[in-house]
């Protein structure tokens, strides 16, 4: 009988890396969706033996391939995820969150493995958290579960223009070329309008996101959309998707109470997240409102103080705005752990970069409304020089 346990050489790692990525990449990509679906079952305390077996097969392949390549963190995370999937212990939300976190971590590790040595720290933390969860100990604090969502699609890269409109614009351009300044101004306004798209295209994509979120948090959510006919410059609509998704995710993860808590306060079982837009002249206010518990302003103030912020001079309605401070969002830590995502400070930065402002209005027990006040048109330097 003989044994061999040595690892592959660096030469072999380089030689086989393309094959490793070719086979393992699609497997880790598919694993994420499978774990999100399974998490929903686990949150409800249910097992899904068939899905768990399929996932085990995939995770086992990732583990074996990672081991052969000498990618120890991949092998270790996959092994912990196998233990979790294989556990005979009752399943719950905490174990379910670890499923998704494991899949996210494997995806991040596989993506990172052509960049040299893998950082062992996130994998080691994950292995410890899985061990603690399986042992039933309570030294893991699940601040918020990492939410995995499909990226927000971008609006189409082209705009359809009727021939008649083009003919009108061409005629205007001819007048402008002949020195007619009034025609030039009309032409400019018409071209700016041409770049506008309605927000409905962006808002409609949130139907799928909210359904996905409902699965992840394991309770029904209703999406209400209002004012989608407001138009903005296409460049603004394109860059609004990510910040909007972030606050919607935030509402589902932190704002909405569990059904029992809602029932106890006389609320409907199904929580509502409302996305709305309201055009106000050259500006548009886009809001995301939920009917959940509202922001925990005391906790936000306490955390801001720990960050060294003097909150004593702030009027009461300003305190909730502290949630946009860098380093304050709890979601930030979890998201960065999962290798993606932003905190509310990054949302604020993104909106300000568009020439907008952000704010939040929170009513304890009744919900929170995040708002973005945005210009409808991106002002280009050239247009300012027009008469």
């Amino acid at each position: 009988m003989s044994t061999a346990t040595s690892g592959v050489s660096l030469d072999e790692t380089a030689r086989f890396l393309p094959h490793f990525l070719e086979e393992t990449g699609p497997i880790v990509d598919g694993l994420g969706a499978a774990m999100v679906a399974l998490e929903a079952r686990w949150i409800a305390g249910e097992r899904d033996v068939a899905a768990e077996r399929r996932a085990l097969g995939d995770v086992h392949t990732i583990k074996g391939n990672g081991a052969m390549m000498g990618f120890d963190p991949i092998q270790q995370v996959a092994h912990a995820l196998e233990d979790l999937l294989d556990a005979a212990t009752p399943v719950d939300a905490r174990a379910g969150a670890l499923l998704v976190r494991g899949a996210d971590l494997l995806q991040a590790l596989v993506q990172a493995c052509d960049g040299g040595v893998l950082d062992p720290a996130p994998g080691a933390a994950y292995v410890a958290d899985v061990a603690a969860a399986l042992a039933g100990t309570d030294d893991v604090i699940v601040v918020a579960r990492p939410l995995r969502l499909s990226p927000v699609g971008k609006a189409a890269d082209s705009i359809r223009v009727p021939f008649q409109r083009l003919d009108d614009l061409t005629a205007l351009a001819a007048h402008a070329a002949g020195g007619d300044l009034a025609a030039a101004r009309v032409l400019h306004r018409a071209l700016v309008e041409l770049r506008h798209v309605s927000l409905a295209g962006l808002f409609d994509r949130f139907g799928r996101h909210v359904r996905e979120l409902a699965r992840v948090i394991g309770q029904p959510l209703e999406l209400a959309i209002r004012g989608g006919d407001a138009t903005v410059d296409k460049a603004i609509a394109d860059r609004l998707g990510e910040p909007l998704l972030h606050v919607v995710r935030n509402a589902a993860a932190h704002g909405v109470e569990p059904p029992a808590e809602r029932a106890a306060t006389g609320k409907t079982a199904v929580a509502t997240i409302a996305i709305s837009a309201e055009a106000r002249g050259n500006r548009v206010v886009v809001s995301v409102a939920d009917d959940g518990r509202g922001l925990d302003v005391d906790a936000i103030v306490a955390r801001a103080r720990r960050l060294g912020v003097d909150t004593s001079t702030l009027p009461p309605h300003e305190l909730a705005q502290l949630v946009f401070l860098p380093g304050l969002s709890t979601a930030r830590r979890v998201s960065s752990l999962a290798g993606r995502g932003v905190g509310l400070d990054v949302v604020a930065t993104a909106i300000r970069a568009l020439g907008g402002a952000v704010g939040v209005v929170s009513t304890p027990g009744q919900g929170a409304r995040f708002w973005f006040d945005l210009p409808r048109t991106l002002t280009s330097p050239d247009s300012r020089n027009l008469p």
Partner: protein, 129 residues
């Protein structure tokens, strides 16, 4: 080094690429799971050695091993179990069921070359008994 005809059984395509590389100089026959392995074994009596992954879909390595060791035509065929971290119990079971050796992922070319050499001697010893 004597050229051998070797069956490698694994559900990972990466492993098959690695076997091709590490077993250069031998004839390598590929099977992607246990069912495929039994078909290849039945079709090719010239196979001299099997590298058999433990965890596979459809039919796992332990089941394949049992069938090989229960088959009068096949039972002398040396079988090397291929395990991954966490399969120590399965490996011990496989050895109890008659597996001729095992390697644990990750393994290197020199390690399996050494294994093949050891098995050749073992096979000769067994043939002489």
């Amino acid at each position: 080094m004597k050229r051998r005809k070797i069956l490698v059984v694994d559900d990972s395509t990466l492993l098959h690429r690695m076997y091709d590389f590490m077993l250069g100089g031998h004839d390598v026959v590929h099977a992607v799971d246990g069912v495929d392995a039994l078909e290849k074994l039945a079709a090719d009596p010239a196979l001299e050695l099997v590298f058999l992954d433990i965890n596979m879909p459809r039919l796992d390595g332990l089941e394949v091993l049992k069938m090989i060791k229960a088959d009068p035509q096949l039972r002398r065929l040396p079988v090397i179990m291929v395990s991954t971290h966490g399969e120590e119990q399965d490996t011990q079971r496989a050895l109890a069921l008659g597996a001729d050796g095992y390697v644990k992922k990750p393994f290197r070319q020199d390690a399996i070359a050494q294994l093949i050499g050891t098995l050749s001697i073992a096979a000769l010893t067994r043939a002489a008994e």
